[in-house]
Subunit: 232 residues, 2 copies
DNA sequence: TCCGATGTTTAGGTATACCTAATAAATAGG
DNA sequence: CCTATTTATTAGGTATACCTAAACATCGGA
């Protein structure tokens, strides 16, 4: 079936590949391996190779691909990926703020709709929301021109020394974890005191100004990104 | 490509077939011919036959189909069709009232999004709008349970006798005509005086309480449905 | 440096939803 | 009532996006 193609010669499937490459490539746009993509997209490695070859061979290629050496986005691919991420995060913000969705349900809906809204829809919800720069999980929303600030935050699990932090963002993909995080006051902007620990120990944190420490599960800790604060 | 399937074993394509059969079958649920469907969906007749056979052969068939004798919706098919029409009209109302879309642009966006929103999204926009019963073109919005009132209206082109009418609804599919209609004050609820005419004559109307008559183009007249009013 | 584990690609196949061209059924006109 | 036209179906083919299994590269150790 003629999978619905967007104007730019993209499709729902292609969009998802581009987004995955953007995310997995990270800020330095490291080459992404087939295995990493296969894992991320829950698709067989052979299917990944196929798609990457197609994307690289197109008239206006969306990726740079070399056999056995991974892929990177071309500038056209990066542009489209950021456009889709903008859609995703604007939709999440809209669902949360205008339609009163519970935080843990916005991601799934946005993951679908991001591929099907028009430029007008994008523009209208952005206007309705006052052109927001941050989504409900704390992630930056790319601008219409395709710019997105670097996240200066670090993973909570990478900090062993302890200290005081502000929560920058939470991962949006696992609804259960996200609901648990929110139920415990762990959301962007919240303050958090971390006890020093060894790599194998659980993370024990104080949220806000509560006196009793809270032990984060592995899943919860891995989904939190934080920024250090000077205490004053 | 695994065309996105909704929970009910439907898909964007199937949804559009079901909607077309609902509309073309009319209130009495007349059998719909392959040609009519081919025309409506801009798809080759052979493709229609193919799809109808598939839909009729399914475990839980969405249509009743007999070779050379057209199709009707099964009760499951009718249920789904009304669900999609509900999505469509709620989305149109939402785009118009909440996102301030121009009237002539809501249809195209709704035509796409109707297939991809969740039950939660449907429920949330319905709530936001106060559970509306009529969309911006004057069409009834099916209820959550799949009920939709009959339209008692008639086509403007069918009236030769003249008289005073209220505009019940306008067709939403042609953006240009719709914009023209709206620009001339022709929208649901507006009052309209029709001069008597012969079948070949153009329709000349007075809109609202304006004194100067307006000649409707064939396209415009065909897109208007009206209800007679007692003048008092 | 060769060897095997791991990762990647090729080869061949499926389902959806379209298409065109050829064929068959239904219907309408003489 | 029989044929010509219209309408519909069958047959065979395309593109997208997946899959599994088999073949092939790459790279880290021994
Ligand atoms: Mn998300
Ligand atoms: Mn997506
Ligand atoms: Mn519409
Ligand atoms: Mn549609």
């Amino acid at each position: 079936m003629p999978a619905r193609r967007q104007a730019n010669g993209s499709s729902e499937s292609i969009d998802n590949y581009l987004k995955a490459i953007l995310t997995l490539g990270g800020p330095q746009e490291i080459r992404v391996t087939s295995t990493a993509l296969a894992e991320r997209l829950s698709v067989a490695p052979a299917s990944i190779t196929n798609m990457l070859q197609k994307l690289a061979a197109a008239e206006r290629p969306l990726v740079e691909y070399e056999r056995h050496r991974g892929v990177r986005l071309s500038s056209a691919g990066k542009k489209r990926a950021l456009e889709v991420v903008r859609h995703h995060r604007l939709i999440e913000t809209f669902l949360y703020q205008v339609l009163d969705y519970p935080i843990e349900e916005v991601h799934e809906e946005a993951e679908r709709l991001e591929h099907f809204i028009s430029e007008r829809f994008e523009e209208r919800i952005a206007a309705k929301l006052g052109h927001p720069q941050i989504d409900p999980h704390g992630h930056f929303i790319p601008t219409m021109e395709g710019h997105m600030p670097q996240q200066a935050s670090i993973r909570l699990t990478e900090v062993l020394a302890g200290g005081t932090f502000v929560i920058h963002s939470v991962d949006d993909r696992d609804a259960r974890t996200l609901r648990e995080l929110e139920a415990n006051g762990i959301k962007p902007g919240a303050k958090l005191k971390l006890k020093p620990r060894t790599p194998t120990e659980a993370c024990s944190v104080n949220i806000g100004r509560s006196a009793k420490p809270f032990d984060l599960s592995r899943a919860m800790a891995a989904d939190i990104r934080i920024v250090p604060v000077e205490k004053n």
